[in-house]
């Protein structure tokens, strides 16, 4: 569902901006957050610049407590190591910090996600002869395993929110219910999927993701049409609070827009 730039102009913000702002709002001050590159990094830094100044950003490159004042083009930029409280090795960040259960929130992107928040970033098509070879796992499988909770962000489309993943790179809620507990996974897994159209949350009982909020200007029917499985809809679906002036200013200032 391509966005018309005229709509964005009329609203004063783009759907990608809405997605980033909604993701940022998931972080509260005093949270430790494992940040991937791209939208997760932008959202986490937006949270730090607005309502959650004490959020602690942790990058898999080994930067703990990084405080970049502009969008770093990669997860290993000089601005991250120069502003971090501590810089450590990559083996240490995964063993002593992520695996040890010290991180509250993991922010993950995805090429494909299913109704239980399982993630594919490996291949589209068959693993042995893929249609599209994606970058692969990176830090995601263990972020999904060990963070206390996970937030997934991706653009909404039937190709990205799919009935069946081509490959499970990172485990979300598995096949639902108490799957994670049975497997002994320490974190609670994905709790929210934030897209450019809507917010989906994990049903505490079934562990299936449910539409709870549509972004301003988006209809529930739009979301259902853009979702590759029969998406469950909450009894009451809210409308996401649009980006505030302060949020937009901070976001555009940070990304240099």
């Amino acid at each position: 569902m391509a966005e018309q730039s005229v709509d964005a102009e009329a609203r004063g913000w783009t759907r990608d901006e809405m997605m980033t702002v909604a993701a940022a709002r998931e972080l509260t001050s005093g949270t430790t957050c494992f940040v991937g590159i791209g939208l997760p990094s932008t959202a986490a830094n937006l949270a730090r610049a607005t309502h959650a100044p004490d959020v602690v950003l942790i990058y898999e490159s080994g930067c703990i407590g990084a405080k970049p004042d502009r969008l770093p083009p990669s997860i290993g930029d000089a601005i991250l190591s120069r502003t971090a409280d501590a810089v450590i090795s990559v083996p240490e960040i995964f063993a002593y910090w992520l695996q040890a259960g010290r991180i509250d929130v993991g922010f993950l992107g995805a090429a494909q996600v299913d109704r239980f928040g399982n993630i594919n970033t490996t291949v589209v098509g068959d693993y042995g002869s893929p249609t599209v070879r994606l970058p692969g796992a990176g830090g995601a499988p263990e972020i999904a395993t060990s963070c206390a909770r996970v937030i997934i962000t991706l653009r909404h489309s039937p190709r990205s929110l799919v009935e069946t993943l081509d490959f499970i790179t990172s485990v979300g809620q598995g096949d639902g219910r108490d799957y994670r507990a049975k497997l002994g996974l320490p974190g609670s897994g994905p709790q929210a999927i934030i897209t450019d159209l809507a917010v989906l949350r994990c049903d505490p009982e079934t562990s299936e993701f449910v539409l709870v909020s549509v972004h301003p200007g988006v209809e529930i029917a739009d979301v259902l049409a853009q979702t590759g499985w029969p998406l469950r809809v909450a009894d009451h679906v809210g409308v996401t609070t649009p980006p505030t002036h302060d949020e937009l200013r901070a976001l555009r200032n940070f990304v240099g827009a």
């Binding site: 590159i37 791209g38 898999e60 490159s61 080994g62 930067c63 083009p73 990669s74 997860i75 290993g76 930029d77 000089a78 991250l80 190591s81 120069r82 810089v87 450590i88 090795s89 990559v90 083996p91 995964f94 063993a95 992520l98 695996q99 490996t122 693993y127 002869s129 893929p130 249609t131 599209v132 070879r133 970058p135 692969g136 796992a137 990176g138 830090g139 995601a140 499988p141 263990e142 395993t145 060990s146 490959f167 499970i168 790179t169 990172s170 485990v171 598995g174 799957y179 497997l183 002994g184 996974l185 320490p186």
Partner: protein
């Protein structure tokens, strides 16, 4: 992994170091996590037309895209293959999706798994373990993921075998005159790479009389390094903290070059095969791509 006799690293040209240590069929790890990526060494391997390499790297990026596109690699062991913030590695994708220029065997892990494998290698252990992979398809397609049971709690943990590259190649900022090496800032798995590898080459920005204390300063004693090559901006278009800035423009312009096989070939010919060394490579580039080499 140095015999008693050789207690000091040797200062060599990068050409000689690659010629001596990197052989056809070797397993080679060029490590560097965004920062300090040994691009110049990858180019030299391409110039010397090495083949049949097993390439190891957590984050294969443009330099591995080039090695793969130029037909140097038989196999890739990795955890994330992309052009961070800029796009795909089309030479890597073409190899996996269409066997161009020839089939590429892949063995993929997560970052945590790769880091654990390097650590196990550096520690002289046959394997390492982590709480990971459970429930993923990685465990079923990667034969180097197995399981161990904790003899105290009964918990099942993922086991991954130690990595022992034939050659580990890294960049660092400085060497001293005794051949000790120092890097700082984001140091990734570079220490583990050198310690896990049978032979090692370190590219440095410069040689200094004495090291200063640095944030996250990591020193590798001379006797665990084989060859040191002084290659200013050897990590370009990656960067060396306090020496250069990352050339993001280079990463951005790689996307179209990598995507088009003919354009890729022409670019490699002009900038790598036709240049004698890294200084000539830098000279061959459009100055707008160079960014700030005085970080």
């Amino acid at each position: 992994m140095v015999p008693e006799a050789q207690l000091m690293a040797r200062f060599s040209s990068l050409r000689d170091a690659v010629a001596e240590h990197v052989h056809d069929g070797d397993t080679v790890a060029l490590e560097g996590f965004t920062h300090l990526i040994p691009f110049a060494a990858g180019h030299e391997i391409i110039r010397q037309r090495r083949q049949d390499l097993t390439l190891v790297r957590m984050t294969p990026d443009i330099i591995y895209d080039q090695l793969i596109g130029m037909g140097c690699a038989r196999k890739l062991i990795f955890s994330w293959a992309g052009n961070p913030g800029a796009g795909s590695l089309h030479r890597f994708r073409d190899a996996v999706e269409h066997s161009v220029p020839h089939p590429l065997e892949i063995e993929e892990h997560s970052h945590a798994g790769m880091a654990t494998r390097y650590q196990a290698g550096a520690s002289g252990l046959p394997f390492g373990m982590l709480r990971g992979y459970a429930g993923t398809d990685l465990a079923s397609i990667t034969p180097t993921i197995r399981w161990v049971t904790c003899p105290f709690t009964g918990e099942n943990l993922a086991a991954v075998p130690a990595l022992h590259p034939d050659v580990g190649v890294i960049c660092a900022q400085q060497a001293d005159r005794d051949g000790n090496v120092m890097m700082w800032g984001i140091t990734g798995v570079q220490k583990e790479t050198v310690l896990a590898s049978t032979r090692s080459i370190v590219l440095v920005e410069e040689v200094v009389d004495e090291f200063s204390p640095r944030t996250n300063g990591v020193v590798l004693p001379s006797w665990v390094v084989d060859d040191i090559a002084v290659v200013p901006s050897g990590s370009y278009p990656s960067y060396a903290l306090d020496y250069s800035l990352r050339a993001s423009a280079f990463y951005a312009q790689w996307e179209p070059i990598s995507k088009d096989l003919a354009q890729f070939g022409a670019w490699m010919d002009e900038h790598v095969l036709s240049t004698a060394d890294h200084a000539a490579f830098l000279e061959s580039l459009d100055p707008s791509l160079l960014g700030d080499l005085d970080g």
